[in-house]
């Protein structure tokens, strides 16, 4: 009997769980249960009884049609992805990831540069080239320019993905394309893990320059902070760039956070 219940659950798994459908399912189960019981009473074996009940179940599409469930139709409306569109999307996603990564990096390098210029002027490295005030102003200007560049990159990468917005409404992936993406995705897994490990290591190690500096000379001048920011900038870039590539896979395969709710 468990086989029959499992079979029925399976047949109904893809259908929406409305009260009407639940009702029909219960009625079907009651019918199948009764048939099964009678077959057993007639002296049929468990296997024979289950086999007969399941063979007389029929075609679920027929029922769906009557219940006005347009599961097939709805799927039909969704665009079927062509290989070119899919690869284009992946390239765009990768480029967008690269630009966003660089943008965030610039946002971190700006303050680092500001601090660096300040420290250089303070310690007298820039004597004769730049006054301390000029170095400060130059640092702020550089920071603003870098942030402006970053914002430009963010907007540009956002626009690049705009073309693929329709994909978020749902799509169908042809079988062969899916398996190809799956292959690429598993091939990419190790690269992604490596980038993740490197990024995390960089984050963990980033305070080291600051600590080292304060150990070497007591009045830490700020070079350590510059290095800390730079290390974090590289780490963040790794997370964003490789993360975006990974995301394009999971999005196309509807895995992880993109799993479609049923």
């Amino acid at each position: 009997m468990d086989t029959i219940i499992g079979y029925l659950n399976n047949m109904f798994a893809a259908l929406p769980k409305t009260a009407q459908i639940e009702g029909v399912k219960q009625d079907l189960l009651a019918s199948m249960e009764e048939k099964y019981r009678e077959l057993k009473e007639e002296g049929k074996t468990e296997n024979e009884a289950v086999g007969i009940v399941i063979s007389e179940f029929g075609n679920i599409d027929e029922l769906m049609e009557e219940l006005d469930i347009a599961v097939e139709g709805e799927e039909g409306i969704l665009p079927v992805l062509a290989p070119e569109d899919t690869w284009d999307y992946m390239v765009a996603k990768k480029k967008a990831g690269f630009m966003t990564g660089i943008g965030v990096m610039l946002c971190l390098i700006g303050p680092a540069l500001l601090i660096l210029l300040h420290v250089l002027a303070e310690t007298g490295f820039l004597q004769g080239i730049l006054s301390e005030d000029a170095a400060g102003i130059l640092g702020v200007v550089a920071l603003l320019i870098l942030v402006a560049l970053a914002v430009g990159l963010f907007i540009f990468s956002g626009m690049m993905l705009e073309n693929y917005k329709y994909l978020h409404k749902g799509f169908n992936l042809p079988h062969h394309l899916r398996s190809e993406i799956q292959q690429r995705s598993s091939a990419y897994a190790s690269t992604y893990t490596l980038s993740l490990v490197m990024g995390v290591c960089l984050c963990v190690l980033s305070p080291v320059p600051v600590i080292a500096e304060s150990l070497i000379n007591n009045d830490s001048s700020g070079y350590g902070v510059v290095l800390l920011l730079s290390l974090i900038a590289v780490a963040v870039f790794l997370f964003i760039y490789y993360g975006n590539i990974k995301e394009s896979f999971s999005f196309l395969l509807k895995e992880g956070e993109y799993t479609r709710e049923k």
């Binding site: 179940f57 075609n59 679920i60």
Partner: protein, 108 residues
């Protein structure tokens, strides 16, 4: 065994016929169809419940719950006056169908 394609148009008629004498429920109807057809036609489960849905949508039958002795709730069906009219219509249609098809049947 009759193929379901041939008989499709008359599934509703079978069900309505079995409801003429009073209310009944899914499995009983399925069993009676099988018995009356001398095991020559077994209506598939989904065909049966599609027909129930369709007939009820058209107002030819109505459904209601009845509690069974084992404490289970069972869906019963009853024929409506519209259903009865439809049944007569189908009977008349069959007579004509039979007459026409018979003209093309020859024993060889």
């Amino acid at each position: 065994m009759i193929s379901s394609d041939v008989i499709r148009g008359y599934n509703d008629t079978f069900i309505l016929y079995l409801l003429l004498d009073g209310e009944s429920y899914g499995y009983e109807i399925a069993k009676n169809i099988r018995k009356l057809s001398d095991e020559k036609y077994i209506m598939k489960e989904t065909t049966l419940y599609s027909a129930f849905t369709r007939l009820e949508k058209n107002g030819y039958i109505c459904s209601f719950y009845k509690d069974e002795t084992q404490g289970k709730r069972r869906t019963y069906y009853r024929i409506t006056p519209e259903g009865l009219a439809y049944y007569h219509e189908k009977c008349a249609e069959w007579l004509i169908t039979q007459e026409v098809v018979n003209k093309f049947i020859k024993e060889l």
